[in-house]
Assembly symmetry: C2
Homo-oligomer: 336 residues x 2
C-alpha cells in the first residue's frame, strides 16, 4: 500500500497532538507508511523522540500554509494552495498517497477534495460517512456534514455508496438501507424525503423505508441515509447526550465517600460498557464518492482518536473502497 | 383553573395506561380536574377501582372515534369529527377545558389543533417545544416536529415563543437563544438558516447566534431553535443514544456474578444519575402559537410519563402561557 498523507496542521488540537497520533498509528500497524504534511521544522522536532522503527516509516512533506477553522471554503481553494490540507489531498491526486487524513475545517476540506480529486462518474456530491455504535453492531450513516443540503437524487447516490461501505467494511452481504425521516409511515415528511423515498425504493437496493432518529442505534438497519445538515446535527447531538450522561455519572460517583467507593467497585464494569461507545474509537469519517480517499477526523481529536482516523483511512485504502464504489455506480449506470 | 381535557384513546399504548396516567396526575395535583375523552364505557370501567377523591375530579366526555397512528392529517380533520383527539381540542376551543393532552399521531394532532384553535396573531405555524436536560438545568427546544420544514420568518417566530416559555416556565429573565446549525461560524449552513440568523439577530431577542447539536446539552443557551424535521430527528436521536447506553450498562452489570454484585452496590448512585435524565420526566411537549394549549405526549408513554404530560399542561395553563405569548407577539408587532 502507498503511504497515507496526514495533514498535521489543521484542526482544533495542536500539531504535536496530531503528530503523536500519527506515531501511534504507525505503532499500531507495522505495514503503515505516512507522509506528514505541514511545517517541516515543527514536525521534525516532534518526531525527534520517536523510536527508529516508527520514524523510518514517516516522511515529511513541507507545506507553508494552514487552512483555519473559520476559513471560507472558496477562500481556502483560492488562497491556500500550499496549505497542509491542500498538499495532502494533492498527494492523493498525484498517486503518491493512498489516502489523506485531516482534522481541519469540514467545509474547506470538502471543497478542496471536490476541487482536486473530483467526484466519481455518477456521483454529484461526495458525502461523509461513519460507523455509529448500535444495538447489534454498527450502523453506517451518511451524510454527516459534507453538504448543507441534498437533492433526492443525491440521497439515492448516498444510499448506493452507503450500501457498498456496509458490504466492504462491515461484511454485510445485502445491507438494509433506511432513509431518515420524522415518522415511519410512507406519507410522512416533506417533499424532499418523499421523492428520495420513491427513488431509493426503485433502485434495487435493500431499502426498508423511512426510519427515525432512534433507529440509528436500533440495529434494524445497516445504513442510515440523510442530508448533511440533519446528519451533522444528529451526530453532534449523539456526542452531546453521551457527554451529558458521562458527566452526570461522574458527578454522582463523587457525591460522597460511599459513592466514591461504589464507583471504584463499579468502575471495571462501567469501563467495559463505555469502551464500545467511546467516540474516539469511531473517529475518522470517510468522504466517499471522490476519485480518492479523504478521511475527516474530529477537529478536537486527541492522539488516540487521530490514530483511529488514520486507521480508518488505511482500512479504506486496503479495501480499495474508491474502486469498489466506482464499479458499483458504473454497474448501476449500465443497468438503468 | 378549568379542567384539562385528556384524549385517552390515541397513541401506541393502551387506553387503560393513559387512564392510569390521568389518575396518577390527579393524585399528584390536588387542584387538578380532568375531562377524560373517549369510549365512555371503557373509561368508566378503568375508573372503577379509583379512590373517590380522585374519581370525583374526573369527568367523562364521550367520543365515538379514534384517530389512528397512520391516519393522514387531512383525513383526520375530515372524517374523524367525533374522535377523542378532536373532541378534546374542541373542549379547549369552547372554553370548557384549559388545555388538551394527547399521545396520538403528531401530524393529525397538529393539523386538528391548527384547524380548530387557529394560530395567534403574528404566528404562521405552531411549534412543539419541550425542555431537554442540560449541563446546568434545562434547555427549551423547538420545533420538535409540528412542521416538516420552516421558513426563516417562522424560525424567528419560534425564537420569540421559545424566549417566552424559557422566561415563564423556567424563570430566566433574558433567555439566551441559539439557532441550530452545522457550525458556529457566521457563514456556515444553507440559505434558510442564514436568513433566519439575520432575522433573529435583528429581533431584539438575546440571540447568541448559531449553535451545534452538542450545545443542546452544554447549558450555554436556554433556547435552541430549529425546524421540525431537524428537531424531531435530534429528539429521537437523543432517546436512541440514551437507550443504547442504558442497555449496554444493563448487559455489563449482568455479565458475571461479580458484575451483578458491583451493580447492586452502584445501583443507588446510577439511579440518581439517571433520575435527572429519565425521558419520562420530560414527557409532554407543548404546542405553542395556538389560541389554546395543546400538549403532545410521547406515543409510547406509560402511566408515569403520561401523568407528566398532564402536569406539563397544568403548568402551562396556570402560567397563562397562551396570553403571554399573544401579548409578547403583539408587543413585538407594535414595535416593528
Amino acid at each position: 500500500m502507498l503511504p497515507i498523507a496526514i495533514d498535521v496542521m489543521s484542526g482544533d488540537s495542536e500539531p504535536r497532538e496530531y503528530v503523536a497520533g500519527a506515531l501511534r498509528a504507525l505503532s499500531d500497524d507495522a505495514q503503515l507508511q505516512l507522509l506528514l504534511v505541514g511545517d517541516a521544522a515543527l514536525i521534525e522536532r516532534e518526531l525527534q523522540g520517536a523510536a527508529t522503527p516508527l520514524r523510518e516509516r514517516a516522511a515529511i512533506v513541507a507545506a507553508s500554509q494552514v487552512v483555519t477553522m473559520e476559513e471560507k471554503p472558496r477562500e481556502a481553494i483560492r488562497h491556500k494552495k500550499d496549505s497542509s490540507m491542500r498538499v495532502a489531498i494533492n498527494l492523493v491526486h498525484e498517486g503518491r498517497a493512498a489516502a489523506a487524513v485531516s482534522a481541519g475545517n469540514t467545509g474547506a476540506l470538502t471543497a478542496i477534495a471536490h476541487f482536486v480529486l473530483k467526484t466519481l462518474p455518477g456521483v454529484e456530491r461526495a458525502a461523509i460517512i461513519s460507523a455509529i455504535p448500535a444495538a447489534h453492531g454498527l450502523t453506517q450513516m451518511l451524510d454527516l456534514g459534507a453538504n448543507t443540503k441534498a437533492t433526492p437524487e443525491q440521497l439515492r447516490q448516498f444510499a448506493a455508496m452507503g450500501a457498498i461501505i456496509a458490504r466492504d467494511v462491515n461484511g454485510i452481504a445485502s445491507p438494509r438501507i433506511g432513509l431518515l425521516n420524522i415518522g415511519e409511515e410512507d406519507m410522512k415528511g416533506h417533499e424532499g424525503v418523499q421523492a428520495a423515498h420513491a427513488l431509493i425504493g426503485a433502485s434495487g437496493l435493500n431499502y426498508v423505508g423511512f426510519v427515525e432518529g432512534n433507529d440509528i442505534f436500533s440495529g434494524e438497519v445497516d445504513v442510515v441515509v440523510t442530508d448533511g445538515f440533519t446528519g451533522n446535527v444528529a451526530l453532534k447531538t449523539m456526542e452531546g447526550v453521551a457527554g451529558l450522561i458521562a458527566n452526570r455519572m461522574r458527578q454522582e460517583f463523587q457525591a460522597s465517600l460511599a459513592d466514591r467507593i461504589a464507583g471504584l467497585i463499579a468502575r471495571p464494569v462501567l469501563r467495559r460498557a463505555a469502551a464500545g461507545l467511546d467516540p474516539r474509537r469511531y473517529n475518522g469519517a470517510c468522504m466517499v464518492g471522490l476519485a480518492g480517499i479523504v478521511v475527516k477526523s474530529h477537529g478536537h481529536a486527541d492522539r488516540v482518536a487521530f490514530a483511529r482516523a488514520i486507521g480508518t483511512a488505511a482500512l479504506a485504502a486496503r479495501r480499495d473502497l474508491t474502486r469498489h464504489i466506482a464499479q458499483a455506480l458504473h454497474a448501476e449506470g449500465t443497468r438503468s
